[in-house]
Amino acid sequence: MLQVVIVVVKSIVTATLLLAAFGLMTWIERKVLARFQFRPGPNRLGPAGVMQFMADGLKLALKEEIIPTAADRFVYLLAPLVSLTAALIAFAVIPWGPPIHLLGQVVPMQIGGPNIGVLFVFAITSLGVYGPILGGWASANKYSLLGGLRSTAQIISYELAMGLAVTGVLIAAGSADLNTIVARQYRLWFIVPQIVGFIIYVITMVAETNRTPFDLPEAENELVAGYHTEYTGLKWAMYMMAEYINMITVSALATTLFLGGWHGPLLPPELWFLLKVALFMYFFIWLRATLPRLRYDRLMAFGWKVLLPVALLNTLATAVWVATAQ
């Protein structure tokens, strides 16, 4: 019974924290982008405009719900939910601190800890791509359809390289359990031996989350808003939440796999984890402020012809290294 209560409490806390992080992240992104571009950014509501996301959320909640007449109603309404649900679930297995002792129980700082943690994250994030695809198809809008198609092509091209990039870490750690992987990095973060894998992972994680320079599915200047062109109000907000929570998830996974998870001197482990994730989040914004967008065919070529072979080679090299070391 106590176990169940703990899991429920942890789920609620994690989901709430993620959604709060989403709100805060929109504000941080706008503020940092503004700094890159000599603008003040949001500065009206609350200190330094920090409450802006509340106003935005309220506005979106009060928006008229528009469903295109030609849309497939059921799928149209389902699609953003798929995106958001997948984004929220994927984070469940990420350990954001060492286990704590509570009421005589050892409580791990993650909702669930299956020994295939990495695979779980990949499985769920792959499911998440159904959001853009279904949404793009169900909207009965050509821009949305093109956005959905691009999203599919992108995921196919990048998931593989992403998975292979992580395989190096799995081989080096000898486990797919995220807690074990973190524990193995007590002395040396995997970013050092797995630098190639890390670089590939960082590139693919940007592609995975549809962010600049891989933001083709919602390429504003080509496809208006891509797959969410026809979405309004809270349904649109769900897509946005999914995008930002996905950013947090892939950043957290990068932290866990390559940057030693919550390990770090002096500061509390949870804070270390947060700092490392924040570093990646800043990197996302930095990219958005700097880079132009890739072209669709070039993006696929890059994924298949560059990232995939390099990731394969990296896996091979790691396997050989581990085998000879034993």
Partner: protein, 401 residues
């Protein structure tokens, strides 16, 4: 246009092509351009620009306004570089009147025309970078453009539609303190050009998007009537400022940058170097600015000073005549082409001896450049359409007029 009646079904595969309407309200069509694009996947099979959403009847309206008022209309054609439109219009009227403005006026006109060219190129650079998905250059370029608009406002009182050049002279002489402020801009701007280049030129994604994109053969380009930076990107060093100097351009030393490839990247490089050349011209103009009158001494064309009107009966009559009937232009016709930021900007006026023109035609380079768009994007990706539109740098105000 050509493929209007064609069926959407491919005769060979039996598959139906997707027809997509880009615009008239679309983030990247730079105004209200509408494109009917036929797509096979993301490959463009046909593209048909549909124009006219910003048609305001500028050419017809000219016929109802006296010549001085017509100047105001020229502002509104290419609203990104209104000053050069002013220049083209006043030069044509002056040609009809057979007058030449004093040297000082000519130099000031050159100075502002080149500032305006830089401003126009900055808009192009910012928006076309934005089309490629790079959002920050837009803010960096508009920040510098703002400084140019401030200079224009300082001289003319207006930022966007200044009408600073008047038939027979200028609206007024340069205000005090202008030179210092202009020099501040001239000294600061090269650094920003380097910044833009640093941000874009060394970026593999940017190069990948631009190189080899939206090419066209020289013969085709000439058939479409391309001029300006687009033609120079194909290796033709054609520049009206050199080949047919007006407003004392022969006094200034500058180069005409050319590129060979004729792709989006070549156009980008030509325009970037043009900004440098324009800077050189502005610097020469302000440093060698002659003293003396800044408008013609003919009171039948250029109104007398306000103080004079209050004291002299004759001046009052001139003023009244100029602002009611306008100056009378001898019958005849004239065409003047100037080197606009987008190509040859021309103005053709037929006068019949009255204070209003009989017919005015504006050769807006954007219109001619836009014609080539279907050829530029044929069989290319949808993303290249945006790149192509950005690279031909159209202003719909000028296309539709």
């Amino acid at each position: 246009m050509a493929d209007q009646g064609q069926s959407l079904v491919d005769p060979y595969t039996g598959l139906k092509a997707m027809e997509l309407n880009l615009g008239p309200q679309h983030p990247s069509t730079h105004g209200v351009l509408r494109l009917r694009v036929r797509l096979d996947g993301e490959q463009v099979k046909a593209c048909e620009p549909i124009i006219g959403y910003l048609h305001t009847g500028i050419e017809k309206t000219y016929e109802d306004l006296i010549f001085q008022q017509g100047n105001m209309l020229s502002d509104r054609a290419d609203y990104v570089s209104p000053i050069i439109n002013n220049l083209c219009y006043v030069l044509t009227v002056e040609k009809l009147l057979q007058i030449e403005v004093p040297k000082r006026c000519q130099y000031i006109r050159v100075m502002f025309a080149e500032l305006s060219r830089i401003a126009s190129h900055l808009v192009w650079l910012g928006t076309s970078a934005m089309d490629m998905g790079a959002m920050s250059p837009f803010f960096y370029t508009f920040q510098q453009r703002e400084l140019i608009l401030d200079l224009i406002e300082m001289a003319a009182g207006y930022r966007m539609n200044p009408s600073y050049f008047r038939v027979g002279g200028l609206m007024r002489d340069l205000p005090p303190g202008f030179s210092a402020r202009l020099h501040a801009f001239l000294d600061g701007f090269p650094h920003w050009l380097d910044e833009y280049r640093g941000l874009l030129d060394k970026n593999p994604i940017w190069l990948d998007r631009l190189k080899g994109t939206a090419t066209i053969s020289l013969a085709q380009a000439l058939d479409y009537g391309w001029t300006g930076p687009l033609l120079r990107a194909l290796g033709v060093a054609h520049d009206l400022r050199k080949s047919n100097p007006y407003s004392s351009y022969e006094d200034f030393a500058f180069d005409v940058p050319t590129e060979q490839d004729g792709d989006v990247y070549a156009r980008y490089k030509v325009r970037m170097r043009e900004m440098e050349e324009s800077l050189k011209i502005v610097r020469q103009a302000i440093d060698n600015l002659p003293e003396g009158p800044w408008h013609v001494a003919n009171e039948k064309i250029y109104p007398p000073e306000k103080e004079e009107i209050a004291q002299s009966m004759e001046a009052l009559i001139y003023h009244f005549k100029l602002y009611s009937e306008g100056f009378l232009v001898p019958p005849g016709e004239a065409y003047v082409g100037v080197e606009g930021p987008k190509g040859e900007l021309g103005c053709y006026i037929v006068a019949n001896g009255a204070g209003k023109p009989y017919r005015v035609h504006v050769r807006g380079p954007s219109f001619y450049n836009l014609q080539a768009l279907p050829a530029l994007v044929q069989d290319r990706m949808l993303s290249d359409v945006v790149a192509a539109i950005g690279s031909i740098d159209i202003v719909l105000g000028e296309v539709d007029r």
